[in-house]
């Protein structure tokens, strides 16, 4: 599990809270810190052999960050890695982002257990379906 903060956006409280919630649910969470680029996020996911990548964006750059990350993941052959995210994202953008390859977006107000439950289900489904490790 890789949790990243992308772009010029210093607000990492949300990402840290999610990282902590996932840790407490038994995940091994790699937290990358601030100011990641799509390239650095994908390089991390590749080296860590991550099952999933979560990105928090609060800077209104969500369209760019998520679509570029999804594109870079496909380019590096990480099609089977789950991309999800959260942050301040207008509901109108959610469908477009999901078309770009984001599996799920959690908007403000989502509870920790909700994220955990979705992720556990998504990871086990992914592992069952593919070569995932």
């Amino acid at each position: 599990m890789v949790i990243a903060k992308a772009g010029m956006d210093g607000h990492d409280r949300g990402a840290k809270v999610v990282a902590r919630v996932l840790r407490d649910a038994g995940f091994e969470v790699i937290y990358t810190g601030l100011y990641q680029t799509p390239e650095s996020i994908v390089a991390t996911a590749l080296q860590e052999d991550a099952d999933a990548v979560g990105i928090s964006v609060l800077s209104a750059a969500h369209k760019h960050v998520f679509s570029e990350t999804a594109r870079e993941m496909r380019q590096q052959g990480l099609d089977d890695v789950i991309l999800f995210g959260g942050g301040i994202i207008p509901p109108g953008d959610v469908e477009w982002l999901e078309q770009q390859g984001v599996r799920r977006l959690f908007l403000p107000g989502t509870s920790g257990p909700e994220i955990v439950a979705w992720l556990q289900q998504a990871v086990s489904a992914q592992r069952a379906s593919g070569s995932g490790g």
Binding site: E28, G33, Q76
Partner: protein, 325 residues
């Protein structure tokens, strides 16, 4: 045991990793961490190829600046044209099994450099400052062509010094402000040092710490021809890093020139075989003695002592007819 199909996919994964494919190497690392059946086949393929890298251990108490120092060391080795593997170990929660691996936060400058491969590992309950598979992951990094492999331990106290069995050269990172800790740490962590880094050297008490270490080294002359140098560093600014790199090179030269390298390799080999044997014996016993849990209950209730239980388990396993006698 694996079927032939699984076996061939593992062989293909090994081929790709050894040809330089990072994703395949990452997959193999996951297998080394989590698949005891696949591990022997991976190791028998990579072990002969893993001998050329210099392996540097970085250890020290939590918050000493190990990750920042590793980052700066990696940058310095890259500047020398060397490729670098980093294995960064952080603790797992003993309660949930989860882990928050944050060493990468200090290594952001390396993420986009294809000459650096960073792998985070959770300790998964292993004592000693490393994860169980750390040594094997280090070997894989070496086998896939990394010139230098740096292994960063969890933040350690006094005795978690397994890293000395994995690393050629061990750096112990200390910081001022640990009070009289130097005294109490004499045995254990401080003895693990081939090189000392006194980090946060701009903080109050750094000079005093250096003096304490000098005195300790002077008093405790180990009879070794190598006396650990003490290097002052400020990892966040990169100051002292060049001297540290020089000391690491000096130690590596010493190891090879003095024959100490082979002696250490031999000691490490004994420990490695020991670890594998224990694991294999335990799993063989667990397979052959279904009543293991019954013995555990008897010992827990003090109806039987652990020595008698072990003796009976060993007899029952059929591994030896005589038991422990």
């Amino acid at each position: 045991m694996e079927g032939p199909e699984e076996h061939s996919s593992l062989a293909a994964l090994l081929d790709r990793a050894l040809a330089g494919d990072g994703r395949s190497a990452a997959r193999l690392m996951t297998l080394l961490e989590s698949d005891v059946d696949a591990t022997p086949a991976i190791m028998s393929r990579i072990y002969p190829l893993a001998g050329h890298a210099q392996v540097i251990g970085v250890t020290g108490p939590p918050g000493a600046g190990k990750s920042s120092l590793v980052d700066k060391l990696a940058a310095a080795f890259r500047a020398q044209g060397k490729t670098v593997g980093i294995v960064a170990v952080d603790p797992s929660s003993p309660f949930t099994g989860g882990a928050l691996l944050g060493d990468r936060i200090r290594m952001q400058g390396r993420f986009s450099d294809p000459g650096v491969f960073i792998r985070s590992m959770a300790s998964r309950g292993q004592p000693g400052g490393l994860a169980k598979a750390s040594q094997n992951v280090v070997a894989l990094m070496a086998a896939t062509g990394k010139d230098t492999v740096i292994i960063e331990t969890v933040g350690v106290g006094q005795e978690e010094i397994d890293v000395v069995r994995v690393a050629d050269t061990t750096v112990v990172v200390l910081v001022p402000g640990l009070g009289d800790a130097v005294q109490t740490m004499k045995a254990g962590l401080l003895e693990a040092a081939d090189v000392f880094a006194v980090n946060k050297a701009d903080y109050e008490g750094a000079e005093r710490l250096v003096k304490d270490l000098e005195l300790m080294l002077h008093l405790g002359s180990s009879g070794s021809a190598w006396s650990p140098p003490i290097v002052k560093t400020i990892a966040t600014e990169g100051s002292g890093v060049d001297q540290l790199v020089g000391s690491l090179a000096g130690h590596f030269d010493y190891l090879q020139g003095s024959g100490e390298y082979l002696k250490r390799r031999r000691r490490a080999a004994v420990a490695e075989i020991d670890g594998v044997l224990r694991g294999q014996l335990m799993s063989a016993i667990a397979r052959r003695v279904p009543a293991f849990d019954v013995y555990a209950s008897q010992v827990a209730e003090r109806k039987c002592d652990p020595y008698t239980a072990a003796d009976r388990i060993l007899r029952e396993s059929g591994l030896t007819a005589e038991g422990l006698g």
